[in-house]
């Protein structure tokens, strides 16, 4: 008797267990966004669609439809998941790529992605619409993202606002003005010892430092006031001998009068983008007894083929005298050194 009374109760429990509960179709997507990479009016845009399937979702998704607001232009499109690399449940910033072999079709304001395999609840998904969408005029547009069954029944949906504005770009302009800095390390210099018949005597050297943003580099020139070391007291000159145009330095001879200028490359900026310094052949002495002929006209002593944040040349005068060179304490010359940027 106890068993017989229990049978209806068991049947009721089974029936309750079979009760389907509330339908799951037509619920809200938990979160959703549409990001267009251009917001400018009447401009073609790529579209990234991101949404989160709600918890408790039991529908079997086969499609995702994006219905764009009236005024947006929707045409044949392509779909991909490039750059969407989220795993597990994903996140808004890095969702899981919409799974399946995706194809996309357009109809009126709708783009429907088919080939989607079932989506997991509480998971972020994303995909890109690479072409096919062109912004309308400047206004707000209310669009709808829906997940669909294979029979096009809506499983979850969400309305999403996007905005089109007059212009979404800002053009930044700037001017880098031409700059040229040229500085001599000193304005006077002396030979290190008295001139001598027994060897070459040189000055300590004066630096010329160049800084410029001239794209094509710079050039430096020198001219001598007298093309010689002159003594007013002795009324005598030690001339700068040789040919200033043969691009070959002169080698001084002990016991013979001569006066030359040697130019050394002290610093060639190694900063990326800087040019290469070249000393003019005439003044590119490779020993302490060589130098170029000085004239009263400007002669190129060096150059560079690009901008520099510090190039340095060192100018060294060298001289020899003969046994007959008149004595004097006032032998002098004035060199004028100039430079220019080649912009």
């Amino acid at each position: 008797m106890r068993i017989k009374r229990g049978i209806p109760l068991i049947i009721m429990v089974l029936l309750v267990g079979l009760w389907p509960g509330r339908p799951v179709l037509g619920a809200d997507l938990e979160e959703a966004l549409i990001r267009t990479d251009r917001m400018k009016a009447s401009t073609a845009t790529n579209v990234r669609v991101v949404f989160k399937v709600p918890a408790g979702n039991t529908g079997t998704e086969a499609k995702v439809k994006v219905s764009f607001g009236a005024g947006m232009t929707v045409a044949a499109a392509t779909v991909n998941t490039t750059g969407i690399t989220g795993s597990s449940t994903g996140s808004m910033d890095n969702p899981v790529a919409l799974p399946g072999t995706l194809t996309i079709a357009n109809s009126s304001q709708d783009l429907t992605v088919s080939g989607v395999t079932e989506l997991a609840e509480s998971t972020w998904y994303g995909f890109n619409i690479a072409t096919g969408v062109t912004n309308g005029s400047a206004a707000q547009y209310v669009n709808t993202i829906s997940t669909l069954t294979s029979g096009d029944a809506v499983i979850d949906t969400k309305q999403v606002a996007t905005r089109v504005i007059t212009d979404d770009q800002i053009v930044i302009t700037a001017v880098v003005p031409p700059t040229f800095s040229f500085a001599l390390g000193a304005n006077t210099t002396s030979f290190t010892t008295n001139l001598s018949v027994s060897g070459v005597v040189s000055t300590t050297g004066v630096t010329a430092t160049v800084i410029t943003n001239a794209a094509n580099g710079w050039v430096a020139w020198v001219k001598s006031a007298n093309a010689a070391l002159s003594s007013a007291a002795a009324s005598y000159t030690i001339d700068s001998a040789g040919d200033a145009t043969n691009a070959t330095p002169t080698t001084l001879s002990t016991g013979s009068e001569d006066y030359v200028l040697d130019v050394d490359e002290t610093t060639d900026s190694a900063t990326a983008g800087s040019g290469t310094v070249t000393v003019a052949g005439e003044y590119d002495g490779d020993s302490t007894s060589k130098g170029g002929t000085l004239t009263t006209g400007y002669t190129k002593i060096g150059s560079a083929d690009g901008p520099t944040d510090t190039d340095v040349l060192t100018l060294i005068a060298r001289s020899t005298i003969s046994g007959m060179t008149p004595a004097g304490t006032d032998y002098t010359d004035t060199l004028t050194v100039v430079g220019a940027g080649n912009f």
Binding site: K158, T166, D167, A215
Partner: protein, 364 residues
Amino acid sequence: MRSSINMWQLFRSNKWRQQVCSASFVLLAMNSANFQMQGYGVSSGAGTGNSNAYSSHTTVGETSGANMNAAGKQTNPGYIATIQANVPAAPTVTNPAEYYNKLKVVIDAGGNPTDALFAIAASDDAWSTTKYVQNDLTLGAVLGAEDWRTAADWGGVSGFEAIGLTAATTYSFKVKATRGDFTESGWSAAAGVATVNPYLTFDLDVSATDAETAAPYTLSMGDLAAGSVTTATDLVWIDFGTNGLFGGDVFISATTAGLSSASTSTTITSATADLASGAVATGFGLRSNSVSQASGGPLAAASPYNGAADNVGVVNTTWRRAYNSATPITDGRASMFVKAKISAMTPAATDYVATFTLIASATF
């Protein structure tokens, strides 16, 4: 004072017997120094008396249960009415923050006790169709036993948010109460309000001060000085607002890697850096200057644009988040400095240019 009746005391009362014998159809409250009865009836028999001006439900025993109505008033006579829960007042329904998919509902308990249960009906078509607020706060077609909840369960005086609603739709809500079997009240008056459309506002401006400007947007940095940080006089301004439940974001990218000169084939490369540092020879980027909002938000600058002084964030062909609000926001406003630094050998040119693209999205 409303009292329960001790029948033994009633029988001992001559007044009670007198009422029973002499008042065959006039139903009055019985009062003495010790007792008061309301809504009582004795024996069977009831009727309705009518004249041109009046209608009177009379009874000795239970009434017919028919309601008496006048404009704005209703009387439920008889015993059934006395045990029914009070009809609640119309709920208070509001859309306090431009909701597009939910509304706030505060029910009025109508003086019912705290264990009274309330059901809430909703309609978006002037009651051609009635739905019911489910215990998960969505609307459903069926009013289940689980959808009867106490006033406290419905949020008390703070109310609750009915969710899953359609945007730009007016919803009406009404409430009824029960205290158990046979005590279900009638529906309250209805109250309603509309959801709004989801929205996103976004705009750009270029100005030295907070001002609206029109497109096209061009920002001149003027002459850049070698070895020092140049900050453009004009700033980039954005307007941003949304009722998206999860707020929104502003993103930025550029069409090149930095300030580029076609004539010299040179780019002042953008990078995240402290431009004031001696270790940084050249650079270009943005730094947030200000954020504000009328309500919601807050709008916040995102890394790497949230530095101070001459610390700038990179702007190149990669999209980066510039600002974020995690919640709905109205009248968000932000400004950004544009800064650059060049070296002595940055090639001279008058055609250095960068094009920023700023976009916004909201999460609904």
